[in-house]
């Protein structure tokens, strides 16, 4: 019986075997869960970022242009499906943190403003990892990259909250360490009409400098230290989905060598920021956060 198990799974899975991702990459893990939630009537657009390596061998229609193209060709695809009267498809547009937060930020913002009927996913490994670990707008404060050898000087951009202010129907953050929450959010997003935005953390052993076996543990600590709060903003109302007892930020930072040079003052600065953000999130939990 067990010998058929793999074949049966493989038959049902929307991904073919094999991946070009680094060991321990969150990409294959994320996409397996995401595609399970999305189902077979899905079309995927996106290219470039590491996490897309995971779906180069996807069993679904996949269109791609290049790294700096986000939410744009998918807008054209959505228009073509409308023009042709094709219904019942889920259109997913995916991009990394650098594409979403830096070079194509205007494109994502415009697609949100137009309320394009697509699920935009940001796979966030917190730097330009495919080009060899360069700082992006979503690299956290203090993190080493090859372009921030002394650690990043500025804070990480809050993209999900910025997108939420476009008054889109659904925004959520997810983590592969919380699969039930992740699948539930993607399923929910799938059934909503208009622009949905899901921001997922993407553990990166290569760029964050940790043992590939620890990927899930590391991002779980991200949630437990409130570095990576899991929330959703539906119809403008914030809901914190997980409210763990807060662990000190050191617990998270010390798991990754990209933070090992940080001074006590810098760590305190990060902790203060997280505390303030946590407080505001708790204050606004269940409240409307869009003016």
């Amino acid at each position: 019986m067990t010998e058929n198990l793999f074949d049966e799974y493989y038959e049902k899975s929307l991904m073919q075997g094999g991946t070009t991702c680094c060991p321990g990459c969150g990409g294959p893990l994320f996409w397996r869960m995401a595609l399970q939630a999305l189902g077979p009537k899905t079309v995927i657009y996106g290219d470039g970022p590491c996490a897309m390596c995971a779906i180069r061998n996807i069993k679904l229609p996949h269109f791609n242009l290049h790294f700096s193209f986000v939410a744009d060709a998918s807008s054209g695809m959505a228009a073509a499906y409308r023009a042709k009267g094709i219904e019942g498809l889920t259109l997913v547009s995916s991009a990394g943190d650098g594409a979403t937060g830096d070079i194509s930020f205007g494109k994502v913002s415009a697609a949100a403003e137009r309320n394009e009927n697509m699920l935009q996913i940001c796979v966030d490994n917190e730097a330009y990892m495919n080009t060899g670990i360069q700082k992006s707008g979503l690299t956290p404060f203090g993190a080493w990259t090859t372009t921030t050898p002394l650690g990043k000087e500025a804070l990480k951009k809050e993209i999900p909250l910025i997108i939420a202010q476009h008054n889109v129907p659904y925004v959520a953050t997810v983590s592969v360490a919380y699969p039930r929450d992740l699948v539930a959010k993607i399923k929910k997003a799938k059934d909503i009409e208009g622009f949905k935005y899901i921001h997922t953390v993407m553990p990166c052993p290569t760029g964050w400098r940790f043992n590939p076996a620890k990927s899930v543990e590391v991002v779980r600590l991200g949630v437990e230290t409130w570095t990576w709060p899991l929330y959703e903003i539906e119809g403008g109302v914030l809901k914190l989905n997980v409210k763990p007892k807060q662990k000190p930020i050191e617990d998270y930072l010390k798991t990754q060598n990209r933070f090992r040079h940080m001074t006590e003052d810098q760590i305190k600065y990060v902790q203060d920021n997280i505390n303030a953000k946590r407080e505001r999130l708790l204050e606004n939990d269940g409240k409307r956060v869009i003016l």
């Binding site: 269109f63 700096s68 744009d72 054209g76 023009a83 042709k84 494109k107």
Partner: protein, 397 residues
């Protein structure tokens, strides 16, 4: 029923897109293309045109959305100009390599900072290497007809390349001329609905062209499509002529070239002025004619080589310039390469005109014609590249 009325180039292009039944129009405004896309928005809002208009936030997205829509099965139209075309450039490389038959009007306008809003051809000519077919139009009628023909060329399964009807800002885009709008049913008969044989982005019928692991091979395929396009452009033009009574001699047109010693070679709106001046000069027994270059990509080298044997001199009139080039403007360098293999080469002159922001005048055309005939009589060219506007030629006419 076809009908004729005054129409400028932008409106003609909009009617061309409507009659071609373009289904998706992702566009971003830029002078002098704006009236084209706002006309399309109006036609859609009036219910006359059935298309999805995507009001994108920039040209880069306009072309990306065009790619997505084209691959997903919709006929796509868009337009841009100048700075917008440059902003779009990264995306402009996609449709030829991906074999997406998008049609986009390039409404010619100079690039900043030494440009302003005036028309020249540097914006579209700098896109010469990325695989787009470029057809230059002289007036609004040609714009309308070329947009419709462009889809027939682009969607030919032996071609599958994007096509750009190019026309000068203001002189064509904003100049109203009597324009005949063909009957929708006749256009439908000429141009069947869009269906891409290589693409379907539907989960139950997923197809994409397989990309060769050898990029050189894929590029060579695009080159071969360009070679085939030379014939297809001729054929489509002829068929259009049979059906609608107007055709444009394919890639290049000889005007009043019987028994002449030399020709001026032009592109775009200035051609009309040159036609008049040539008529005037031939009435005074000057042996000079005109070649209008319509297809810049693919470049009609073979055809030009055939014609060149008849002339002692060819003067390329470039409404563009290429700083530090091997000599003169972009078109003249193409012509030089095309003629290089001839044993008996005509003299080659090159004039820069229309760069100052003003129209190409009758007097300037006369000056260029005289200089060309002078080279014929001397048997040599004194000044290979001549910046015509730097001379004080007196009155416009």
């Amino acid at each position: 029923m076809s009908f004729t009325r005054m129409m400028d180039g932008n409106e003609a292009a909009a009617y061309g897109a409507m009659l071609s039944r373009a289904e998706v129009v992702p566009a971003y405004p830029i002078t002098p293309q704006t009236e084209l896309i706002s006309r399309i928005a109006t036609l859609i809002s009036e219910g006359k045109m059935k298309a999805e208009y995507i009001k994108v936030e920039g040209e880069h997205t306009a072309m990306a959305a065009a790619c997505g829509a084209s691959a997903a099965g919709a006929r796509v139209f868009t337009a841009t100009a100048s700075q917008g075309m440059a902003h779009m450039e990264e995306a402009l490389w996609m449709p030829p390599g991906m074999r997406l038959p998008i049609v986009m009007c390039m409404v010619n306008r100079a690039m900043a900072p030494l440009g302003g809003l005036r028309p020249d051809h540097n914006d579209s000519l700098m896109q010469r290497d990325n695989g787009w077919i470029q057809l230059y139009c002289e007036n609004s009628q040609e714009v309308l007809d070329t947009v419709i023909m462009a889809y027939k060329i682009a969607e030919d399964k032996d071609i599958y390349l994007p096509v750009a009807p190019c026309y000068d800002g203001y002189f064509v885009s904003a100049t109203a001329m009597p324009t005949t709008i063909p009957d929708q049913a006749e256009v439908d008969e000429f141009l069947p609905p869009y269906k891409h044989e290589m693409y379907s982005l539907l989960p139950w019928d997923y197809r994409r062209p397989a990309r060769s692991t050898n990029a050189a091979k894929s590029r060579y395929e695009v080159q071969q499509a360009h070679d085939r396009a030379k014939d297809v452009i001729e054929e489509v033009d002829k068929e259009y002529g049979t059906r609608f009574g107007r055709s444009y001699d394919g890639l290049l047109e000889e005007y009043a070239c019987d028994d002449v010693d030399a020709v001026l070679m032009t592109m775009g709106s200035m051609t009309g002025t040159v036609r008049d001046k040539i008529d005037e000069m031939q009435a005074e027994d000057n042996r000079i004619g005109l070649i209008k270059l319509r297809g810049f990509r693919p470049f009609p080298s073979e055809e030009l080589r055939e014609l060149a044997k008849k002339y002692q001199a060819i003067a390329v009139v470039d409404r563009n310039n290429s700083y530090g080039s091997a000599g003169g403007g972009v078109v003249s360098m193409e012509v030089a390469r095309a003629l290089y293999t001839l044993d008996d080469k005509p003299l080659l002159l090159n004039f820069h005109v229309g760069l100052s922001g003003s129209d190409v005048t009758m007097r300037q055309v006369g000056y260029m014609a005289e200089k060309t005939l002078e080279a014929v009589s001397k048997g040599k060219v004194d000044e290979v590249v001549d910046w015509v506007e730097l001379h004080d030629l007196g009155e416009v006419l």
